[in-house]
Amino acid sequence: MADFLQLLIAGLATGAIYALAAIGFTLLWQTSQTINFAQGEFVMLPAFFALAAIHGLGVPFWLAALIAIGCAVILLGVVFKLVVVDPLIRQGVLPLVISTIAVGLLLKDGTKEAFSAEAQRFPSLFTDEVVAFLGVKISLSQLGVLGVALAAIAALQWFLAATPTGRQMQATAQNPGVARILGVRVERMVMLTFVLNAALAGIASLLISPIYLAKFSNGETLGLAAFVAAIVGGFNQVRGAIAGGLLVGVIDNLAGAYSELVGVSSSYRQAVPLALLVLVILFRPQGLLGRREERSV
């Protein structure tokens, strides 16, 4: 039981990070029809900005973290929108999808060339201390990760629900045409979505990299986790992405520990979220928390 609780907390911690990536992915899909296949690379990259700042500029970690998020917002938010998405959305969804795949490839191989093909150690925001609470050993860094990720999610939810800008963003996501008529500056809201996505990816990157190490090929795993989380949760809902992310994280961790018990080799751990994806698509295609969408003619 104590083992189970430990695994649960570790799972929630990685799951909360997946949720950050999945929320951004969902927001982009809703507000700008951008299905970002480079989302995993978006989460992989900011850690390397931080490493570059630490090793290149010699700045302390907290400043490097801020620089990383700043670079992410500019490059993965603003530049991505202006240089890739804006010219391509006019050509239709398929060219845009293809281009985001190419962007992913570009970021992945660019990182490999510019930094290293080896996994890099990445400093943690938190201590490695472990505390025992009622016989359950809890890692403080996992609690810290969970806390930061949940705080970011809560702040985002508050922003979307309680501020005028956030509500305008939601309006843009639901119906850009009507939003425009009602005086929402749709273009600005779409740009804001890209900025938010990049910031969330930056935070996720700083949180996940101490666990997974910073490696150019991390985007594959992280992207897949984000896609599965978004679809499992119901991609037309931000809270769906949150639930999906946490679920994928927990299932992934439990599968790593318990799969041998049900006769499945732990080398198939990566396949568990995929099985979840297929089950959800088969039995609840709108996602666990999603609404059915009417088909538009």
Binding site: L105, I231, S265, L277
Partner: protein, 327 residues
């Protein structure tokens, strides 16, 4: 008249291809054969992307299914012909099985399911060492024999692959020209209208995906005797993404597109050998630029340049006729 000319050009190209290895060395013939195999798999992707309007991120996985099926069956004593058929049939069946749930939902779900599927196939190939040899791969895959004549020589094997590719290309040609294939085009242009006209959208899309995947399996069955050694690497997610990109770069929805795209994907790394590590970066930038300025790919670009060269009056005179010729 125009189509007669086109057929003559195609025949000329095939004849030139058939003669090419006579003037080429062993390695260049190998690259040319690899191009044909790649084009065959890309032909399948084109049916899925260019005609049925879906995205597949698993063609390399189907190539792997075909490659391992053919290699294991021929090692087990089956003739190559049967192994080849089994590779295609298995890919077709797997395509149906994963396409069915994905296409029930909505657009782009096939992309995610195939993405997940390619990771799964890669895991199976890597983990099931008793069957696939894991990361050590399968060695000494025999090249087939035809009517008692061994195709071990690189030139003979090239001609064999050329013949198979030509036959499957003709089959695909017939498929997309048949009433059945024209339904695909209707479906890509306007799925809702196609459905209201009685086209079973889901059924057609599913079949397109399964047939396209079967082409991946066929290509894989040719790939393993070509390289004579297979391991998991060429069937991972990365190569699957490259298959999708090469079809779009060549020109998705145009019949020659996959051949052009495969040429770029196979030959360009050979020519850009000096820039080896930057190859993918350059390629990715090219893809984005291409999508922004000419989403119809290289074939579309050539068509556009061709149209520019000709006199505007001639174009104006021909345009309505071409429009009417479309059903």
């Amino acid at each position: 008249m125009r189509s007669g000319l086109a057929w003559a050009l195609v025949l000329l190209a095939v004849a030139a291809l058939a003669l090419a290895p006579l003037g080429l060395g062993r390695y260049d013939t190998y690259i040319l054969t690899l191009w044909l195999v790649t084009a065959l798999a890309a032909l399948g992707v084109n049916l899925i992307v260019g005609y049925a309007g879906q995205e597949t991120l698993a063609q390399a996985a189907f190539l792997g299914i075909g490659a391992y099926t053919a290699a294991l069956l021929t090692k087990g004593g089956l003739t190559f012909g049967l192994a080849f058929a089994a590779a295609g049939a298995l890919s077709f069946a797997v395509g149906l099985a994963i396409g069915f749930p994905a296409l029930r939902v909505r657009k782009h779900y096939l992309a995610f399911v195939t993405l997940a599927f390619s990771v799964f196939v890669w895991l199976v190939i890597r983990n099931e060492e008793w069957l696939t040899g894991g990361v050590m791969g399968l060695k000494d895959i025999e090249r087939p024999a035809l009517f008692g004549l061994s195709l071990k020589h690189h030139r003979l094997f090239f001609w064999f692959v050329l013949a198979v590719t030509a036959a499957l290309t003709l089959a695909m040609w017939w498929l997309v020209r048949s009433p059945w294939g024209r339904a695909f085009t209707a479906l890509r242009e306007n799925p809702v209208r196609a459905e209201s006209l009685g086209v079973d959208v889901r059924g057609y899309t599913l079949l397109a995906f399964a047939i396209g995947s079967a082409y991946g399996g066929f290509a894989g069955a040719l790939y393993s005797p070509l390289v004579e050694f297979i391991d998991p690497a060429p069937f991972a997610l990365g190569p699957s993404l490259l298959f999708l990109l090469m079809v779009v770069v060549g020109g998705s929805g145009s019949f020659a597109g996959p051949f052009v795209g495969a040429a770029v994907a196979v030959l360009l790394p050979e020519w850009l050998r000096f820039a080896e590590s930057y190859y993918l970066i350059v390629y990715a930038v090219l893809v984005i630029a291409m999508m922004a300025f000419c989403p119809s790919g290289i074939v579309g670009l050539i068509g556009r340049l061709w149209a520019l060269r000709r006199r505007p009056t001639q174009r104006a005179a021909e345009a309505p006729v071409l429009e009417q010729a479309k059903p």
